[in-house]
Symmetry: C2
């Protein structure tokens, strides 16, 4: 049994600081522990009590008849570390610490106490959940290590979702919503000892968890986190993530909540995308998505295509609109399917996707069955969406019962399509019918707008091909040391040329007399730029001359650039003039790298100039990036149309461009501990087969230069 | 009493074709009619029955003791027109026709029957709702003219929202949801006799309607529709519109549903925006928005700024993220407010907006009261958002009751801010508490994502200043006749020059010998272009020469352009060469006009080139457009940053640009019956005070040329 297993699935446990004072951690945690299936091996510990809740209290851990797997510490912050140390000495391997008052308080005392806790955990190889948490509910093995009144009936609640929340109340709220299938719920609190990352890996590994749902403010260890995502991707186990703190004010709120740095929202999103994890925006979307995957239980749509059927023309129109808005694919059905559908719908109804079922189908289960079946058998359809509220002020209406019976019949057949109930309105669904649908593998989604958003992302999940992705990041081994230094343009370009990235022929004229020799090896026209570590805005300094057409012009340009720059900044070091062939203009792209402190180098691609800066039309992917991923990045750009060939212009050389992207990402990977940023700007991309070339480059690295 | 009043609020009515056959229109409509407060003046008509539901049946309308205000026709399609005609002869002014089988069937017979119905209605000045509808519920006067089992208790249901739905089932579903305050619900069906537009005007005029909610597939009469929106804007009465059929498949679905043309989604959106109407995407959003305004009952936030308070750090972070996503303004609170808040929150909590209330406020009503009060008194705050689900599997939790009591206390005070309950999850809200909050003017919104979307749009509504808008469209008086003809560039530019829009000096050289004289009046460099009605792609034909620097080059260019064009298209009519001064380049904008068949000319503005075509970054506004609206259009553009001055570049001459926009819109208005399209592309915009100039122009009009 691993240490983590002893924490998550203990065979025995002790509640330390148990009490019967209503509302205290000791009371709630004790009462919950007694609901566990291991209740015979649950022990209460209190230094001054004989018994509590009718159960014997031991004075301390040493008195217990066995060394328990896990302890639940219900005492205040100041008392926690001594208890942990004692437990560690005894060989206890798991602990839950509820108390707050540690690093999240941002006091030096709190931070020091939490550091000490980490030390203790390391020293004794203990897995410690918390502090500032609500603990763990294990509904697979029916064990409660939970510090709040938990309205969950372990005997009846179905399993499915593994929840990790960096917010106790969010975990608690989710658990108490009866309609969700919970396998584990973990409130990680500050999460510096037992991290969210480790916890995720445990849940991904567990066969009892069909889908992981995370409320995430920030991670601790990128490598562990991404290893878990990698395993999940390979198992096709969905990981649903509500990453909060993505806004400016949200990041501040997260910081004062659990002390997590929110990090760059864009980087997180790029990491999730790389591993096919599903990013959501709200709790409702998190829950709807998680429950959907739990109910589908692996029976995903075979293709990313949906057919819709509604029993109101208006709702059918809204369905079509929302599907377009949320990128839910509604393929045109093939003629065979339409023909079959026409056998069951009235002559005035139009056989279409989505289908207005009309009132004539309201009460005819046979017809509804046949229509849905025909839709589901269309080769382009992986799932059928049925509009219904599974509710009504006077009970579930007959038209919905007709449809639900038909859906259940289909769902029980072999090779059935995935089926979904899509409500128009919020409101409690009918419990009995909801459970009936779900037990036959048919999820009841949230009201339409969230539902279609969730379905659009389900389509992406269906299309995600992990085999083609690198499923890797380049997390740095250590924080960079030294200061940031920018290489000169000349050196930066030489560096990328070594990678096999085309650059224009270039040379340096240190003195005027070098000019003829340098230009002698080049084709005119050339470009001349001052080479100086001090002059950053060369154009402003009059340090750039384009379209130099012959040697005479080159000599004149040499003099004039130097004169301009001396005037502009008299003290600047001028290391000669960089001369390069002027490349024919192509589509201007930017390829760049930033280095995220947690996830390491992240590749960026976008169309040059204001497209990046004003329209923020950029794609990110953590390095390394392979050709498939590079192409995926380009496809994410709104400007992709321009690369594809736009208004009769030829398609661009995507092969050459992605080749550069892959090489840059490889370089960044190899320099992950030192690179600060990298910019190829612009890269000119030419027509198909004509290549691409980096016109300018800048590499900034940490070092001691 | 007007005719429309006799329809919407009849003093007497007759149910024609009453029956006791369960499920038939005659049965439902009859039973509903008897629930009306005018039940003493409700008459049943059936040619062969003595009585029905214990009530006497008359043989026909003529037998009734009075000429009723309104008749409800429950008989099949083929029988409707004769009944209507008979009623018309008698002087009946209102009718509801439930039957389908008219124009929505797309059969020539159905279309003809509906045309006849329109004739009858016109001849006898009758207001006829339907066909293919469910009728009207008037909850103000407690009258049911409704063809479906309606689970609405007229005696208890509060009034507030006026609903118009071009889908019977949508109307019916909304009405049966008990939590909505309904004044009127109208299912307009095909709506060719009594249109949605007329109905909207009636509801806007009615003081018993606080907010109008529309499910709209398409309108019939733009002038009436916009007149209603204008009245609503001036009264500050919110009109909430779910315009469906905005997607390609949605438009098709709408067409086969009620035969309405969906029209251009962009144009509808622009029209709504002009009048400050609120556009929503889903039924849930429609209902949440409508009920919110109904509950607020005119007590809108005084400024567009919100403060948020949540009782879970996680939910507080999500609140901040979603507010940013949906443009809900969360201003930083002023120091005075923060200081006041700090008196009530624990020392470790951060006084911020949004605020994590922490558990210490859970049960302390006094503290919650004081914190919310302080937030609401901040000059930048118009509304306070309180995170709560108003529900729970074990009843409403104590922490929510604490907050709700505090909110109610504040809401009852003078000058209270608007208060909102924002749930995280879907689910039925507690009825008692929901009603308690709402009766004190506090709306309970939908789950967070919809809620913040609704609040973002509420902010826009608060900021909308109808006094500064034209509140007008330029609907054409008649459909255009003749064929589309494009004016030449020369003529188009002369036309816009007459409006006072700057254009470059231009001249035509019909023959080579004209060139010196034409260029003699100009400053070099000039641009030369072939002038031909046949050559549309001048550049492809070699018909354009830029940067012509002197007379000699101009003569050479003349020859070469003509030669190129003869080669390109030997039969083309060549009407000489257009010569114009080459303007210094500026920021390239496109100003255009399209002519919507219903709403008339619509002005378009966008940054030139691929910004419009690839990024679809355009703003639309129906003509006429004044300076305030023109500036509003520019502010909608993502590219607005470039007009404002970007990375140190000077701000553009917005005055000159909006001046051009206003003039173009005025021209379009004056030619609303004939104009097809208009394009000023590009318009060069220079720095502040330096003006703007239309470099090229094209006017296309319908006519007999």
């Amino acid at each position: 049994m691993t240490d983590i297993e002893r924490l998550m699935n203990p065979r025995s446990m002790a509640v330390i600081g148990v009490t019967d004072k209503e509302g205290a951690f000791g009371q709630r945690s004790g009462a919950n522990a007694l609901k566990s299936h291991i209740r015979d091996r649950v022990y209460f510990v209190h230094p001054r009590r004989e018994s509590c809740m009718g159960k014997k209290c031991y004075k301390d851990l040493k008195e217990l008849p066995e060394i328990v797997d896990c302890i639940l510490i219900c005492t205040p912050a100041a008392t926690v570390n001594p208890i942990l140390r004692e437990a560690g000495e005894l060989g206890v391997k798991g602990a839950v610490v509820y108390a707050s008052g540690f690093s999240e308080d941002h006091t030096s005392e709190g931070i020091a106490m939490e550091k000490e806790m980490e030390d203790i955990a390391r020293t004794y190889d203990m897995k410690v959940v918390g502090p500032n948490c609500l603990g763990i509910i294990n509904n697979v093995n029916k064990i409660m290590m939970w510090g709040l009144g938990a309205w969950i009936d372990l005997d009846t609640r179905p399993t499915g979702i593994g929840i990790i929340a960096q917010s106790g109340f969010i975990a608690a709220n989710i658990v108490q919503l009866e309609q969700f299938n919970i396998s584990y719920a973990v409130s990680t609190g500050n999460g510096n000892c037992f991290t969210l990352d480790e916890c995720l890996e445990y849940l991904v590994d567990s066969d009892d968890v069909k889908v992981c749902a995370l409320y995430l403010e920030g991670i601790k260890d990128a490598s562990t986190f991404c290893r878990a995502l990698e395993k999940a991707a390979k198992k096709r186990k969905p990981v649903i993530i509500l990453k909060s703190g993505v806004s400016e004010k949200g990041a501040k709120s997260a910081a004062s909540h659990t002390g997590n740095l929110a990090g760059s929202a864009g980087t997180y999103q790029a990491v999730f995308k790389k591993y096919g994890a599903v990013m959501v925006d709200s709790l409702e979307e998190l829950l709807c998505t998680a429950q959907m995957y739990s109910v589908l239980n692996g029976r995903l749509p075979k293709v990313n295509g949906f057919a819709g059927i509604n029993f109101s023309g208006g709702e059918n129109t809204i369905c079509a609109d929302l599907c377009e808005k949320y990128h839910v694919k509604l393929p045109d059905l093939e003629e065979k399917t339409l023909k079959e559908m026409r056998n069951y719908i009235p002559p005035f109804a139009a056989a279409k996707n989505p289908l207005d079922g009309t009132t004539s189908l309201f009460t005819d289960r046979e017809k509804v069955y046949n229509v849905i079946k025909a839709m589901g058998e269309d080769p382009e359809i992986g799932g059928v969406l049925v509009g219904m509220n599974v509710a009504g002020p006077r009970g579930v209406p007959q038209k919905e019962i007709t449809s639900m019976e038909a859906m259940i019949q289909i769902s029980d057949e072999e090779n059935a399509p995935a089926l979904f109930a899509v409500p128009s309105y919020e409101g409690d669904r009918d419990k009995v019918w909801r459970e009936k649908l779900e037990s036959h593998g048919i999820p009841v989604l949230s009201s339409a707008e969230i539902a279609y958003k969730v379905l659009g992302k389900l389509g992406e999940f269906v299309e995600f091909q992990w085999e083609k992705s690198t499923l890797a990041i380049s997390a740095p081994d250590k924080a960079p040391t030294g200061t940031k230094c920018a290489m000169s343009e000349w050196d930066s370009k030489l560096e990328i040329q070594k990678l096999g990235i085309p650059i224009p022929a270039q040379g340096i004229a240190a003195i005027r007399e070098d000019v003829p020799e340098v230009v002698g090896k080049m084709k005119f026209p050339v470009v001349m730029k001052v080479n100086s570590p001090d002059i950053l805005h060369k154009t402003d300094a009059g340090g750039v001359r384009l379209n130099v057409r012959n040697s005479e012009e080159a000599l004149e340009a040499f003099d004039s650039i130097l004169a301009n720059c001396r005037r502009y900044m008299p003290d600047a070091r001028l290391d000669g003039i960089l001369i390069q062939e002027m490349a024919p203009s192509g589509l201007e792209m930017i390829i760049g790298v930033t280095n995220d402190p947690q996830f390491g180098p992240v590749l960026l691609a976008g169309l040059g100039g204001i497209f990046v800066e004003i329209f923020k039309d950029v794609a990110l992917c953590p390095c390394p990036v392979n050709t498939y991923e590079a192409l995926g990045m380009l496809r994410q750009l709104k400007a992709y149309k321009m690369l594809e060939g736009y208004r009769g212009s030829r398609p661009c050389d995507l092969k050459a461009l992605t080749d550069i992207m892959v090489k840059v990402s490889q370089y960044a990977l190899e320099h992950k501990n030192t690179i600060a940023e990298m910019d190829l700007n612009p890269v000119f991309v030419y027509g198909e087969g004509k290549g691409a070339i980096a016109i300018d480059a800048l590499i900034v690295a940490y070092g001691d230069r």
